[in-house]
Amino acid sequence: MAEAVRRRVLVVDDAGLVRRYYREALEAAGYLVDEALNGLEALEKLLLQPADLVVVDVNMPQMDGFTFLKALRRQAAPLCAIPALVISTESGPQDFAAAQAAGANFYLVKPVSQATLTDYADLMCGAGA
């Protein structure tokens, strides 16, 4: 597929192996992938290079996923409208509620297979990569 239409995903997770697992799946499905280790770095990266989707963990150093999403939703367009997929080990009802309040579009509980990830990415990026 032509470079111009490839969609870009920012993976935000403090675990390096998780980022790598997602990156391999997303790149194989045709996406461009950027990485950030926490919410602060994600905001910094998005200000330099917007994405078509953010995949966000919850527990991360310095800025957790929900605080990041709230900050993202306060940014100017187009950043505020980037769809967000939360993928976390946290599975309590308070976490689902907090994710919704912070502006997440979907919430998956780990472990998430590479196939599930790319299915959601395709769904959330419209027609897919």
Binding site: A15, P61, Q62, G65, E90, P111, Q114
Partner: protein
């Protein structure tokens, strides 16, 4: 030239009254939190303030003072928030524990056996500051018996960074226990490759 220079800065006045937490503005509560950094007696006050403080930045300053006080009581005050329902509070508590690695380290065995799997996952991440052989002593038994795949994955993440060759057998037994989990299989494959490379390197 309009560049100007003033006399040297004045030293802070040590006789100035200590600021208070209660009833003040966020700036005053921030000042109270920072002023407490030197005194172990302030831990109960800091702990109480933490429980009700609405401002993220004031909370950061309270956590910093607890980390600098660095006593068993101050660790306990921070640990109380590792299981908070608020993700921001959990993050702040873990960051504070990272700033007191030696004293927090003594609590790692208990945290890794916590009944709450979420706490065990966070405890694995705190093990990053530990080197082998202590790291293996902490995470090796977990790889053998931990029932939750997500906790094992958190342990593997840390071992991929800091683990040594002695941990390789436990990693492969863990992979066998969770044969159906593709992410854990992926993680253990990479962690083992990194550690094995280290052995020949």
């Amino acid at each position: 030239m309009p560049l100007i220079r003033r006399p040297s800065p004045a030293a802070p006045d040590p006789a100035a009254p200590a600021p208070a937490f209660t009833g003040g503005t966020a700036e005053e509560r921030w000042a109270a939190a920072r002023a407490a950094a030197g005194s172990a007696e302030a831990v109960p006050t800091l702990a109480a303030a933490l429980a009700t403080e609405p401002d993220m930045r004031v909370r950061e300053a309270i956590f910093t003072s607890l980390a600098l006080i660095d006593t068993d009581a101050s660790v306990q005050a921070v640990l109380a928030h590792v299981r908070s329902d608020d993700a921001g509070m959990r993050t702040a508590a873990l960051d504070a524990l990272r700033a007191m690695p030696r004293r927090a380290g003594r609590h790692l065995p208990a945290l890794l056996r916590d009944p709450d799997a979420d706490v065990r996952i966070l405890a694995c991440d705190l093990c990053r500051s530990v080197a082998p052989p202590e790291l293996h002593a902490l995470l090796g038994p977990l790889l053998e018996t931990e029932p939750e795949a997500n906790v094992c994955a958190a342990a593997v993440e840390v071992l991929a960074d800091g683990g040594g060759p002695d941990i390789l057998p436990a990693l492969s037994r863990c992979a066998a226990r969770f044969g159906g989990d593709p992410f854990l299989a992926f993680s253990i494959r990479i962690a083992a490759a990194r550690i094995a490379a280290q052995r020949c390197g």
